[in-house]
């Protein structure tokens, strides 16, 4: 086997290994989910379903519900508003 052929075979092996490694990374991406969620192409979002992730979602909903209470109170206040009487 000539040196040229050896170099060629090594190059092909390296290319195959590189392609395999790259493919392995992209296939694992949606599952390798240590955070709560990851957005990928097509508008799809993949989220961890761990207990921690569920607790975080509930906490986030609680914060928004608290803000909703404030919005609701503002609506009440605006409907019962009375102007300062003008004149003397």
């Amino acid at each position: 086997m000539s040196n040229g052929m050896k170099v060629g075979i090594v190059a092909i092996v390296i290319i195959f290994l590189g392609a395999w490694y790259a493919n392995k990374d992209s296939a694992q991406a949606p599952l390798d989910n240590t955070g709560s969620s990851e957005q990928v192409g097509g508008g799809q979002q993949y989220s961890s379903t761990s207990d921690d992730s569920l607790d975080k979602d509930l906490a986030s909903i609680d914060a928004s519900l608290k803000a909703f209470d404030a919005d609701s109170a503002n609506a009440d206040a605006s409907l019962s508003d009375k102007p300062v009487t003008q004149g003397e």
């Binding site: 569920l54 979602d57 986030s60 909903i61 919005d71 609701s72 102007p83 003008q86």
Partner: protein, 274 residues
């Protein structure tokens, strides 16, 4: 006529002549004194009136400024809240902000005019215009706070979509592992019912208030606006209660899933809405 009599008559005449010459002088002196006193009284009266007017103007101006400041403060907070709204288009947001800003600008201009008013009459007219413009304020404040609350309900609905997707994955995993998920599925269905109700209510609230316009003094329209605002307010309250109930159900589902002790291995997939 004796000499004595002549002298007496001459003295009398001289006295009369002297006195008659002096009388106009006395009379003139009295008139001058009266005019002087009258002028003084007039000046005092004018001063007193000016003082009274100044006090009245201070009172009117203070009340007017209090009301203007109160409204500008509330409108500024409302504008900030509009900036935080997430589920409306940029165009809708810009429209609401412009409505609020127009009110703020109008009140600021009125405040400048009130500060420059030089008569009580002008000042009272300007102060009265604050009362007249209240109808616009009394419409847009509740209208936009209700829209903001509905926006929050929609934001929450989006958060529940994420949670539901995860719960569904976990329930499926538990079922595949041979666990009885009947009770959990029931809770999950109830959660959907509450979330659907919350959305129906908040959407209805938006429909009720989105197109309301100032009444411009039309009493029937004012009453119709008020009724629509009150109805919308009730729907927002119901939406809030439904979302809280959904949150409670979500918590029960999470507790039940945790108690099953099935390790989460999957990922939930949700469609992201921009």
């Amino acid at each position: 006529m004796t000499i004595k009599t002549k002298i007496a008559a001459s003295s009398l005449c001289a006295s009369v002549l002297l006195l008659s010459g002096a009388m106009p002088a006395f009379a003139q002196t009295d008139i001058n004194a009266t005019v002087g006193v009258t002028a003084e009284v007039g000046t005092n009266k004018a001063d007193a009136k000016a003082k009274v007017d100044a006090t009245r103007m201070d009172k009117v101006r203070t009340r007017a400024n209090q009301e203007i400041d109160r409204r500008v403060s509330a409108l500024t907070k409302l504008k900030t809240r509009i900036g935080e709204m997430k589920r409306i288009t940029a165009e809708q947001k810009a429209g609401l902000s412009a409505t609020v800003q127009a009110q703020i600008d109008s009140l600021a201009a009125l405040k400048v005019k009130i500060a420059a008013d030089t008569t009580i009459e002008l000042l009272k007219t300007d102060a009265q215009s604050i009362t007249n413009s209240y109808r616009i304020y009394a419409l847009i404040m509740p209208q936009i706070t209700i829209l903001a609350a509905a926006d929050r309900a929609n934001e929450l609905a989006g958060q529940f979509v994420d949670l539901k997707a995860k719960l569904d994955v976990r329930i499926a995993e538990a079922k595949n592992a041979g666990k009885d998920v009947t009770a959990v599925m029931k809770l999950r269905t109830d959660m959907d019912v509450k979330l659907a109700d919350a959305k129906v209510q908040s959407d209805a609230a938006v429909s009720l208030v989105a197109s309301l316009k100032p009444d411009n003094g039309d009493k029937a329209k004012m009453e119709a606006n008020h009724k629509a605002l009150m109805d919308a307010r009730a729907k927002i309250r119901t939406s809030n209660e439904s979302l809280k109930a959904a949150r409670k159900l979500g918590n029960e589902i999470v507790r039940a899933i945790k108690a099953m002790k099935i390790n989460a291995s999957g990922n939930a997939s949700t469609t992201v809405t921009q």
